[in-house]
Structure formats: structure tokens, C-alpha cells
Amino acid sequence: MADLPGLLSLVIFLPAVGALLVAFLKSVDAVRWASLAVTGVTFVLSLGLWLGFDPAVSTAEAPQLATRLPWFGSVDISYFVGIDGLNLLLILLTTLLGPIIVLSSWTYIGKAHRGYYALMLLLETGVLGVFAAFDVFLFYIFFELTLIPMVFIIGIWGGEDRVYAAIKFVIYTLVGSLLMLVGVLWLGFEAGDAVNGGVFTTDWYKLVQFGVPLGLQYAMFGLFALAFAIKVPLFPLHTWLPDAHTQAPTGGSVVLAGVLLKMGTYGLLRFVVPFFPNASAELAMPIAILAVVGIVYGALVAFAQTDVKKLVAYSSVSHLGFVVLGVFAFDTIAVQGSLIQMVNHGLSTGALFLIIGMMYERRHTRAMADYGGIAKTVPVLTFFMLFSVFASAGLPGLNGFVGEFMILIGSWNSPTVGNPLLVAVATTGVIFAAVYLLWMVYRTFFGEVTHEANTTMKDLNGREVGLLVPLAALMLLLGFWPSPFLAQSERAVRSLLETSELKAAAVESAAADEVVVVPVAWPDEVALTPPPAPAHDAAH
């Protein structure tokens, strides 16, 4: 397929344009349909990115389908977006969730429709920008851009404690991101002096080649990693999440769990590990310990919840712990697992929040005690719930297993976090996930119907089934045939890890005041398409 440089920018900004359009529409129906059309077209266009991207072509020099426009004349900040193996799937996940979120909000949102849909569309642009940016300053702008719509979505359309949750969300995130801004500027000046002829630069390709001196690495690592750790969220910085999730409207929870948290793990992988490889390797163990604590701790706290939405929120703390563990494992299998797990978590937790939203719309309660036995009255809803629960619990054959298995087996082999005890404790997550999820199902869906109101609960309508089916289909597809998806990122991940390792070694052995610059490595001996099955020959 021909190179389509404008396509990516179109995908990124189409929702924002749509937001403007939606803001001027009069009728509620027009707002809904326009939002659906915009997100739908965005999704279809984004499929062009999948077709246009070739995982075999090197992205060592530049990303594919890229656009690069100078932005501020005198400094090296540019509008630089593109696709490589690391971000392709996350961009597609974001555009896929777009129409699903619009459909899930169809009847859920009961007030100020224009504002809600406009903010949602704006949010989509922000998230797409975050994933597509190859300029750290641009990344930062998009990163902050996602904050504002999300705050309003929680604060205006949320539950009873929405304002508290929204402010908590703002303060937490802002603390992190402002520190990151300091880090971005600092790194930009340092890199500018060292590798860019004294001109401030935030170009990812220049920064990734620049070996930050050891002492500075730790300071900058702290500034960047804190922002992302809050976003993930990593234990013990997670307490904004349950409140934000519980209070947000369904669409907000889906986008939060589905893609917003991934900005944290993606940031760690895209920036922290390759920019500061020495610090990352040194500090991998403490971070991995926090991640593993999060896996077990999140699961146990989830188990204690009586609010079904809060339970799923804490399950995110547990699941994202796996992803962080994998990111810091410096192992291809683990990092590949982390990348696919980001997508998996977006699908399965997204589906869980959608289903909980559907239950809330019918009964206006999130307390498990208010349900009980509804499998009898809403079998279709129950089916999708069980499906998503088992995907989330990592049942082989569904998507969750693929990521968890690769993360754990890779971490077991890892040079940085490969402590058997640590990985074994992380693996107990598979037991705990079954514990809290199955008892949630038990309390909510099984037994006799104990509340009168639940006897007349309506099962899913066509729209609701329609928005869950693609998610379920993808969970199954990624569970049985993830290799085409894994192939998209295999080389990019290897390139990232090899570059980081080369750079770490170079920085380690560099003399004082020596400027270290390491070219981005590009592995060539990677089989991206499986060789033909030998059984074909045997059959004839």
C-alpha cells in the first residue's frame, strides 16, 4: 500500500473536528448519530494504518506513515507523528473503542448531550495524539489534553461523589505530569547541547540516541516515571483510580480503563526505558516489586469490595501490575506480552465496564447485594459477563492468558526482574483473579432472584449486543490467534530493547564528559511470518 502521510493526522484530528461539529448541533439524536458517524469513520480510516504499516520495514530511522512539520521555528520542536510497532495496536484499540463508547452512552447519558459527546471526541483526539507522537513535547501536550475532557466527564456526568473523584483525579495526574514537563524540558536542553548543536530538541529519535549521563538519568527517570506510574496506576499511587472509575459514567470508565491507563504503561515503554536504560535496569527491581505488590494487593482489595464497579477498578490495579512487570523485564517475550496485554486489558475490562453500565442503567445501583440471581432474568447479559470475566481471569483460549503467560515466562527469564520468588508471587495473580471475579459472579448472577425489581430486569437489546459482540470476538481472536498481532510489534520491541542495551553499555563505560550517541538498532533476523507447517508435506 502506498504511503499515506496525511492519513494518521486525519485519524487523530477527525474526532476533534467532529467535536466542534457536535457542539453546534441542536437535537440530541443528531448529536448521537453525528458522534457515531465520526468515531465510526475514524475507526474505518484507522484500519488503513494497519494496512499501510509494514512490520518488516525498518523504523530505526523514522516511523511509518509519518508526518513531520516544524512547529516552533527556533527550537527543534515539531509536530511529529507516525506509526511503529509499539503504537499501532493501541491506536487501533482507541479508534475501536470510539464508536463502542458512543453506543454505550446512547441512553446512559441523560443530560447535556452536546457537551458530553464533544468532550468524548476531543478525548479521543488526545489519546490518539499521545500514542502517535514522536516528539516528546507534542506527547506532553496531548497527554495534558486528555486530562481536561476526562475531568469534566467525571465531574459532570458522574455518580454521586463525582466532584470529589474529579478533583482527586486532576490533582494526582497534574502533580505527575507537571513533574514530567520539567523532565521534558530538562532532557530537551541536555540533548540539545549534546547532540543537536545546542538547539533544544524533543525529537524522539534524537533523544533515544542520546546517552543521558548516569547521574542525570536517575533524576530524569524519577520525573518521567512518576507521571507514568500515577497514570498506570502503580501501587501505592492508585487510589485515584477506584474513585474515578466508580464515579465516571460508563463511557468514561471504558475510556479510562481501555486506553487512558495505557498511556502510563506506554509512556514507560516508549520513553522511560529507552531514554534512561541504565536507571531503568537498576531500578527495575524496586518497580517490579511495586508492580507485583499491586497484582496481589489489587486483587485482595478487589475481593473485599461490595460495589461491582469498584471491584473491577481494583482489578485494573492488579492487571496493570503485570504490564509494568513486563515492561521492566528487558526481555522480548515479556515486553511483547506487555504490549498485547495493554490491548487485552482494554478489551476485557472495557467489556466489563460496559456490562456493569448496562446493569446500572436498568437498576440504578452498583451494589452486588442489590442483584443476585439475575442469570435467570438476563441470560444474554450473563453470558457476556462470564465471557469477559474469564478473559479477564486469564483463561487460555481467551486474550488475557496470552499476555499474562508471555509476561510471566519472559520475566522468569529476565536479566532485571528474573527473580523466581518475585515472578512466582506475580503468578499467584492467576489464583486471586479467579477468586474475586468468580465470587463477584456468584453474588451478582447466581442463586434465586432475591429482589422483586430484578424479576422484571430486561435483557440486552440489539444495540447492546451489537457493541459487545465485536469485543467478545476480538477476545476470542486474540486468545487463539494472537500471532498476527504480535508480529506487528516484534521488530520494534527488539529494536527498542537492543538500542537500550547498547546505550546502557555505552553510558556505563563512557568517560566523564563524553557524549554518548548510539544509533537505533534494527534487528534483521526475525521471522515475522511463521514458516509453512511441515504437516502440509506429511499430508501428501
Binding site: F72, I77, I141, L147, I148, V151, F152, G155, A166, I167, L181, L185, G188, P236, L237, T239, L300, V301, F303, A304, D331, T332, I333, G337, A375, V380, L395, P396, G397, F405, M406, L408, I409, G410, W412, N413, A424, V430, I431, L438, Y442, F445, F446, G447, E448, F480, P482, S483, L486, A487, E490, V493, R494, P530, A533, P534, A535, H536, A538, A539
Partner: protein, 715 residues
């Protein structure tokens, strides 16, 4: 070959999907019982036919490869399946017994609201089980392993309106997950060991793993830990100490499920795993752990089985006990004997379970008739609102209960049965034959397989370590106990006089043909199945040797898939092989005789004690008085459940509710919010700025960003 394997694997999953989706979205489909049940049966019968084709035309082991599942770095797992002697035998059992049980279910589940769901789950189970036994790599095996766990969960909790069933389902899945956790760790160790030593791409496939140079990597402590972890995994799936506690509760599922999943197939997967990796296990130094786990479980569960009144509970503990025998066999490196017992056990235990289902089915009719006559309080399942058990009305009825025990009518309680042979002769005869088979009466199937296990333990005790002689004694005692509890179950159910109320006028009936045909076939197999593994000493009589030994272990210079500790073919792998036979033929004959005597003693004792069924539950009460010291703890399963509830369950529940959740709220969140409060107080001077309006904050952010940009641009 590729197509044939597809014909084995695809029908169950396609029909499961069809029945599931159609049933879920199109209620009219649910009423087509014959159609959807027939389709489901065909989805297992076709694979059975194909397996027979492969089985009888078998020439050499072959691996069929479809597409890549997981690929990253050095890991590459394909959907590949291995057709060899072991996998074909297991596939025969799974699809053969599976077909019979599908046929049986068509009758048994007739009229159930969830008929469509039942068959969708059952087909899904067959698919998962076939993945398990045919897999060429550990991850694909694990896919089947957890898949059968899922189906077990779905089917135990099949009647989900009763929370007891759902709780049992949860227990099964979670306890199995503990085992799966160990299984995962074993895979991690195997992967790292092989990749570190050999480099290159590795997919945890058996072809690589079982090569001599790879096996050499596992000769030391690595192999020991891998085996111990896999054993823990196996104790979960195969219900051994310490993870057996889920299986008795699993009887909450419909009875065909108990027969198929919780007796004949799924619970044997742990043994299959050990047999598949037998060359590794044999050399791991962990055999004694496997043997001990097996022997202790066997005798423990057998003592419990004697004390149970629920017919399915007797069979459940019996299954645990018989699985213990299989582990004992594996623990002396006689993996083929373990698989032999898997097979014979599949025949007689499936028959026993289906027989008990037939009994329960007819006792339910008795129950409905009694309810109709007003002789027992009517109920619509436990937990019903109409007549809660503690209501005065119910209590009054219970006080004058016509039942031989306190409590509501229970169609599974043997104390209400008795004399059923008159009413359901086919069920009684098949059940009786299977009882004799499991009791080890020659020449039925159980005699040969159990005797071969005991013989191998004896032989191993002579040649490897004298400590195994203690396990042999345990095995013998268990054999007596087995004969006693099964004979007791048969007598209480089918002999003597009926004990349900109004038994003169309320009669149970024999089940329909769909249910009795499988019973007859299975009972026939339980009678003749043992001839596939005749003791080697029979060759003295001019009889053929053990077919299953030649098939699995190897014959001539052909090496089979299953290693054996005392076979010259596997001398290179087995550290226990020290030349030919240690046990003389005379001793072998004596041991065979001893086995027969043990069975007769057990059967005879039970027949005498219960006066061939003339004495009923009162005999049990007497036994409780006499043997109280053992009887009472045995009837409480030796306190395993209480122990787990008091430690792990309570620890997790209370820990989560009383420690972790409050800690999260007060310490983690409280700490952060406290810090925020501190900042706020410190900044009280700037209170005018802090408006509390989010828009203002947003504005402040924008202003801040612009300021920073300006800074960057102009500095």
C-alpha cells in the same frame, strides 16, 4: 492426517458454538431436544469413529501442525497435535465413554430448562479434553487443562439457582487454579532451562523436551522441582491430597457430568500429564512423593467413602481413592499401569455414576409422587421461598418425618432407598457388575489393573527401596476397604426392603433406553476390559501378555511413548532398572491370589455385615458406635475442609475485608489525602486562588502550559 485430526477436534467445538449461540439467542431452538442432543452426540461420535480409524491403522507417531499460537523472542508455540499410542488411547476413552454419556444425557436431561446449555458445555468439554490429550506442547495441553476446568465450573454450577452449586463450582475452579499456578511455574522453569542451555526457538513441545539431550538437563534438582510442581498441578486436576477437596463438592453437577468429567476423563488428566512426561519424571528423584501422595490419598478417601450416605459422595470419594491408586502406580514408575487403571476405571466408574444417576432419576419420581400425595413437604429446590426449612410448617412436618433420618427428602440419600433391584433390574445388574469390578473380583477389569498396580509396588519395593513395601500394605488395605464400601453402597441401594415412605404404593421405574444402553455397554467393558492388560505371568499358561504394556511402553525394539522404571527398553532413562526380574513367578501367582482373596474378604465382610441388604442404615449407626474413633473423623473427611476454611479461606476473606481494604482506604489513600490536606493548609495564604471550581484549574493549566512554551521559545 491433517484432515483426520481436524475431524476429531472440530465437530465438538463447532456444535458447542452452534447449540450455545442458537440456544442463547433463539429460544425456539431450546425446545428441539432431539435435534440439539443428537447433534451434540454426533459431535462426539464422529471423532470417536475417526479415532478408531487411526487407532486400528496406527503405524508410527506423527505430529500435525496447524498455526502459530504464541510467538515472541525465543518462544514459539504452535497449535500442534501428537498422534501416538498414548494420545490415541486417551482419545478413544474420551470420545468413546463421551459418546455413551452424551447418549445417556439425552434421556437424563430431558425436560430441563437448560438442556441446550448442558449439551453446549458438554461438547465444549470434549473439545478441551481432546486438546489436552492430543497436545504436542505443554501450553496447548494447558489450554485444554484450563478449558476442562472451565467446563467443570460451568457444569458443576449448572443449576445455578441453588447457590450451593455455584459455590461448589467456584471451589472447583479456584482450587484447580492453585494447581494451575504450580503448572505455570513448571513451564517457566522448563522454558528457561532449555533456552539457556540450547538456545534457539523453543515452544515447550514434547518432541524437543523428550529428547535425550534435553532430558539430561532435568536430571538434577531442576527436574525434581519441575516434577514436584507438575505433581501439584496434577493433584489439583486429579483430586489428590492436598487439593482433592473440590471433587466431592463437584457432585453438585448433573450426574452425567460426574460420570464423564469427574470420574472417567478430566480427573485423569493429571495422570496423563505424568505419563506424557514419564521419561522426565522417572529420572527426577521425586517418584517417592508421587507414590506417597497416591497411597495416602487412596486409603484416606476409602475410609471416607465407607461413611457416606449420599450415593454420589460414595462414588466421589471412591474416585479420589482410585485416582490415588493411579498415582501410586506412577510413583513406582509404572506409568502404563496407571493409564491401564485410568481406562478400566473409566469403564466401571462411569457405569457406577450413570447407574447412580439412573437411581436418582427414579427416586426423583418417587419424591414427586410423595409430594403429590402430601406425604412429604413439597419444595421447589433448596432455598425456596415457599417453605423455608426453618418455617414452623416445615418443622412440624419434619418432626413427624416418615423418613429414616432427619431432614428433607433427598433423592441421593441411600437411607431412603433399598430394594431397588426389583424396580430397576438393568440398573441393578450393571451397577452390581461394576461394583464387583472395582472391588477387584477376578476376572473383571478392576482385578487386573489394581493387581498390576499392587504387584508393581511390591516389585519396586523389592528392587528399589524397601520403603515402598509400606505403600504396598497401604494399597492392600485400601483394596479391602474398596470392596467393603462399594458392596455396602450396592446393598443399601438395591437390596433389602424399600425404605422410602409409602413404598407399597409408590414405585420407582427403570430408566429409558437412552440411559440403559450406555449402562449395559459400560458394564460389559467393566467385565472384559481387564483382558487388555493381563499379568505377564499369564504367559506361563500360554495366554498372550499384556497388550497395553506393549502398546504404551514398547515391544521388541520399538519404544513406546510411556517410560517404565523396570523395563529394559527404558534402561537408559530409568535409574531403577537393574537387570531382569527380581520377583519369581511363584510369588507373582501368590500375589494374584492374594488380590483375589482381598477382594473376596472385603465383599464377604460387607455382605455379612449388612446381611445382604436386610440390615440398612441401622448397621451404619452400629458401626459408628463401634468404630467411633475412626468413623467420626472419617465421616468428616478428616477435617480437610475445616482446616482449609480456617486457614486459607478465612485468611483471604478476613485479610481482604479487615486488613487490606481498610489499609487501602485509611493508610494508602488516607496518606495521600492527608498530604493533600497539609499542602492545602500550608497554602492557606493563597486561598483566594483556590476557588474549588474545576474550570479555574483548567484555565490555570492552560495558562501554565502557554507560559512554559513561551519560556522555551524565548529563553
Amino acid at each position: 492426517m491433517e484432515l483426520l485430526v481436524q475431524l476429531i477436534l472440530l465437530p465438538p467445538i463447532v456444535i458447542a458454538g452452534l447449540n450455545g449461540v442458537m440456544g442463547l439467542f433463539w429460544p425456539a431452538w431450546r425446545k428441539q431436544e432431539w435435534l440439539l442432543g443428537g447433534l451434540a452426540l454426533a459431535a462426539v461420535a464422529v471423532p470417536f469413529a475417526v479415532t478408531c480409524l487411526l487407532f486400528f491403522g496406527f503405524e508410527a507417531a506423527e505430529v500435525v501442525r496447524y498455526f502459530t499460537w504464541l510467538q515472541a523472542g525465543d518462544l514459539r508455540v504452535d497449535f500442534a497435535y501428537r498422534i501416538d499410542e498414548l494420545s490415541l488411547l486417551m482419545t478413544m476413552i474420551v470420545t468413546g465413554v463421551g459418546s455413551l454419556i452424551h447418549l445417556y444425557s439425552i434421556g437424563y436431561m430431558h425436560g430441563d430448562d437448560g438442556y441446550w446449555r448442558f449439551f453446549a458445555y458438554l461438547n465444549l468439554f470434549i473439545f478441551a479434553m481432546l486438546n489436552l490429550v492430543l497436545a504436542e506442547s505443554l501450553p496447548v495441553l494447558f489450554l485444554g487443562w484450563e478449558g476442562v476446568g472451565l467446563c467443570s465450573y460451568l457444569l458443576i454450577g449448572f443449576w445455578y439457582t441453588d447457590l450451593k452449586n455455584s459455590a461448589a463450582a467456584n471451589k472447583a475452579f479456584i482450587v484447580n487454579r492453585v494447581g494451575d499456578f504450580a503448572f505455570l511455574l513448571a513451564m517457566f522453569i522448563i522454558f528457561k532451562t532449555v533456552v539457556d542451555a540450547q538456545g534457539g526457538v523453543f515452544g515447550l513441545d514434547f518432541a524437543t523436551l523428550l529428547q535425550p539431550e534435553t532430558l539430561a538437563l532435568f536430571a538434577g534438582p531442576t527436574g525434581f522441582w519441575v516434577t514436584v510442581l507438575l505433581l501439584i498441578g496434577a493433584t489439583g486436576k486429579s483430586a489428590q491430597i492436598p487439593l482433592f477437596v473440590w471433587l466431592p463438592d463437584a457432585m453438585a453437577g448433573p450426574t452425567p457430568v460426574s460420570a464423564l468429567i469427574h470420574a472417567a476423563t478430566m480427573v485423569t488428566s493429571g495422570l496423563y500429564l505424568l505419563a506424557r512426561l514419564s521419561p522426565l519424571v522417572l529420572n527426577s528423584g521425586a517418584l517417592w512423593i508421587i507414590a506417597t501422595v497416591g497411597a495416602v490419598t487412596a486409603i484416606m478417601a476409602a475410609t471416607v467413602a465407607i461413611t457416606q450416605n449420599d450415593i454420589k459422595k460414595v462414588l466421589a470419594y471412591s474416585t479420589v481413592s482410585q485416582l490415588g491408586y493411579m498415582f501410586l502406580a506412577a510413583g513406582v514408575g509404572a506409568f502404563f499401569v496407571a493409564i491401564f487403571h485410568v481406562m478400566t476405571h473409566a469403564f466401571f466408574k462411569a457405569c457406577l455414576f450413570l447407574g447412580s444417576g439412573s437411581v436418582i432419576h427414579s427416586m426423583h419420581h418417587v419424591e414427586h409422587e410423595l409430594e403429590h400425595k402430601g406425604l412429604i413437604p413439597s419444595h421447589h429446590g433448596p432455598g425456596s421461598h415457599d417453605t423455608p426449612l426453618d418455617s414452623e410448617a416445615t418443622q412440624n412436618t419434619l418432626r413427624h418425618s416418615p423418613l429414616p433420618y432427619d431432614g428433607p427428602f433427598d433423592a441421593q440419600d441411600m437411607r431412603t432407598m433399598g430394594g431397588l433391584r426389583k424396580f430397576m433390574p438393568i440398573t441393578a445388574i450393571t451397577f452390581g457388575l461394576s461394583t464387583l469390578a472395582i472391588a477387584g473380583l477376578p476376572p473383571l477389569a478392576g482385578f487386573f489393573s489394581k493387581d498390576e498396580i499392587l504387584f508393581r509396588v511390591f516389585e519396586f519395593g523389592q528392587s528399589a527401596h524397601i520403603g515402598y513395601m509400606a505403600l504396598w500394605v497401604v494399597g492392600l488395605i485400601t483394596a479391602v476397604l474398596t470392596a467393603i464400601y462399594m458392596t455396602r453402597a450396592y446393598l443399601l441401594t438395591f437390596e433389602g426392603t424399600p425404605r422410602w415412605p409409602d413404598s407399597m404404593d409408590t414405585h420407582p421405574h427403570e430408566s429409558p433406553w437412552t440411559m440403559t444402553v450406555p449402562l449395559v455397554v459400560l458394564a460389559g467393558l467393566a467385565v472384559v476390559g481387564g483382558f487388555l492388560g493381563l499379568p505377564p505371568v499369564f504367559e506361563d499358561l500360554g495366554l498372550p501378555g499384556s497388550w497395553i504394556h506393549g502398546w504404551l511402553v514398547g515391544h521388541g525394539d520399538h519404544l513406546g511413548p510411556v517410560a517404565d522404571s523396570l523395563d529394559p527398553l527404558w534402561a537408559s532413562v530409568s535409574p531403577y532398572y537393574e537387570g531382569e526380574h527380581h520377583v519369581s513367578h511363584a510369588v507373582e501367582w501368590a500375589l494374584l491370589g492374594l488380590g483375589a482373596v482381598v477382594a473376596l474378604v472385603g465383599i464377604g465382610a460387607a455382605v455379612y455385615y449388612f446381611r445382604f441388604g436386610k440390615r440398612g442404615p441401622e448397621a451404619d449407626r452400629k458401626a459408628r458406635k463401634v468404630f467411633g474413633l475412626f468413623y467420626t473423623p472419617a465421616s468428616h473427611v478428616w477435617g480437610w475442609d475445616q482446616f482449609y476454611n480456617a486457614t486459607f479461606v478465612r485468611g483471604t476473606v478476613e485479610g481482604a475485608r479487615k486488613v487490606f481494604a481498610p489499609f487501602d482506604k485509611n493508610v494508602v489513600d488516607g496518606g495521600v489525602m492527608g498530604l493533600a490536606g497539609l499542602v492545602r493548609r500550608a497554602a492557606s495564604g493563597l486561598r483566594g486562588v483556590q476557588t474549588g471550581v474545576v474550570q479555574t484549574y483548567a484555565l490555570a493549566i492552560v495558562v501554565g502550559v502557554v507560559a512554559v512554551v513561551a519560556l522555551v521559545l524565548f529563553v
